[in-house]
């Protein structure tokens, strides 16, 4: 799962090892003072979360890796 827009990660809802459903909110990226919920595009088990809360991300930066 990659960042659909540049911004700052403000909240992360998923942990490594967790099974998530498609459409579930994985994390929130704040851009231009607007919070954007980033959702899983598919179901699966998370292998690793690649960003931390407070971190600035660029467009297309990998956020979460699926197994």
């Amino acid at each position: 799962l990659t960042a659909p827009l540049p911004g700052t990660v403000v909240e992360i809802f998923a942990k490594a090892g967790e099974h998530i459903e498609a459409g579930q909110v994985i994390l929130v990226i704040e851009a231009m003072k607007m919070e954007n919920s980033i959702r899983a595009t598919r179901a699966g088990k998370i292998a690793g979360v690649l960003v931390d809360a407070g971190q600035t991300v660029v467009h297309k930066q990998p956020l979460v890796r699926f197994e």
Binding site: P4, P6, G23, A31, M32, K33, N36, R39, H59
Partner: protein
């Protein structure tokens, strides 16, 4: 002195109170209610509402002579100081990166100004003289300070209804725009996902942009210089990175104080005698039309860009080519995201929105230049 003589003196406020005052106080209470309980643009509607309340208390003398509201009006509205101070703060809040990274968004910022000229023509058609029609048209800039700046210069007698229309419709953008967006775009168009592949923008470009824009606009449209210069000054304070204190003051204390004084002074012009007339109703109607025309023009231009780009541009971002920064940009992004949770148009919409902010200032300046020569 007997009691019969004293009574009229004690009751003079009540005796001078008119039905018109009662109606305007009711309107003031509606504005205050919307601000406090519906949180609709409270920063503006609360002071405007309270100012309106004060303007309709007979014999309070706040709005005449050396009354506090009159002093505020003469100091900050007649001189255009308050809208300009607000613009320094707005400039310090704007990030032009999305626009500079996608310069074609500037086209949408131009399309979003159509309402100004469409409304002007209609206002002339229903009998307003050119100076008043132009001031009413500028409601279509969808930018409070620009509307106030132009109206103060061209038709100060219409300032109150113009400011009220501009600010109240702006707060209604989330209600006015979405139905038009859905009506004028197809589901297929609304689902278009846009690649965000910005050109990298250097710090030097961001610093030079406000300086160069001030010079270019100033030389081409001198009448727009005060507005664009204050907006760009604020932006330079922010982007330069060396005057963080000044940038923060502009974004907070200064814009807050100027907004409070501006709201109060505008509200205080809403006395029953000056506000309750047919012209006000016409202006409120024309103002709404200006908002609708801007949105329609922006969306249609967005559709054209969608077709020309082979459906790589989502026409919804056209609706953010109006001013109303950053509300309009966020709204277009939200409508697209509601349609498809994985569609994020925010950066594109913000590019169009900042272009709209610049477009409205320039359009206001051009109008001022032309109309000042003609009347």
């Amino acid at each position: 002195m007997n009691f019969a003589d004293l009574l009229p003196e004690l009751l003079k406020g009540v005796l001078h109170f008119t039905w018109g005052n009662a109606l305007m106080i009711a309107a003031a209470l509606v504005l205050i209610y919307l601000a406090i309980y519906k949180e609709i643009e409270p920063v503006l509607l609360l002071p405007i509402g309270f100012g309106c309340l004060l303007a309709n208390i007979p014999l309070a003398n706040m709005t005449a002579g050396q009354g506090v509201m009159s002093v505020l009006y003469n100091a900050g509205i007649s001189t255009e100081l308050f809208p300009l101070l607000i613009f320094v703060g707005v400039g310090a809040m704007i990030d032009f990166t999305p626009l500079l990274a996608q310069p074609k968004m500037a086209l949408l910022g131009a399309a979003g100004q159509f309402g100004i000229f469409g409304t002007l023509i209609l206002a002339i058609a229903i009998g307003f003289p050119l100076n008043q029609a132009a001031s009413i048209g500028v409601i279509g800039a969808i930018d409070g300070p620009t509307s106030i700046f132009v109206a103060t210069k061209l038709a100060p007698e219409l300032l109150a209804p113009i400011a009220v229309a501009a600010y109240s419709y702006m707060s209604l953008i989330p209600i006015i725009q979405p139905p038009l967006m859905k009506l004028l775009t197809t589901k297929r168009e609304r689902l278009i996902q846009m690649e965000y592949t910005p050109k990298p923008i250097s710090q030097k470009t961001l610093v030079f942009f406000p300086i160069i824009l001030t010079l270019v606009v100033g030389l081409l449209v001198p009448e727009a210089t005060p507005l664009i210069a204050m907006l760009m000054l604020g932006n330079l304070l922010k982007i330069s990175g060396v005057v963080d204190r000044l940038s923060k003051s502009a974004q907070n204390e200064m814009i807050n104080i100027a907004t409070l004084f501006l709201g109060l002074a505008i509200g205080a012009t809403m006395s029953a005698e000056s506000f309750l007339n047919l012209a006000t109703i016409k202006i409120l109607g024309l103002g709404l039309l200006a908002f609708v025309l801007d949105t329609v023009a922006g969306l249609l231009f967005g559709k054209l860009m969608a077709v020309l780009s082979g459906y790589k541009i989502n026409p919804l971002i056209g609706a953010s080519g109006i001013s109303a920064f950053p509300m309009a940009g966020r709204l277009a992004a939200k409508v697209a995201n509601d349609e498809d949770q994985n569609n994020f148009l925010l950066m594109h919409a913000m590019g169009a929105n900042t272009a709209g902010q610049l477009g409205s200032v320039i359009a206001g300046g051009i109008l001022l230049a032309i109309v000042s020569k003609l009347v």
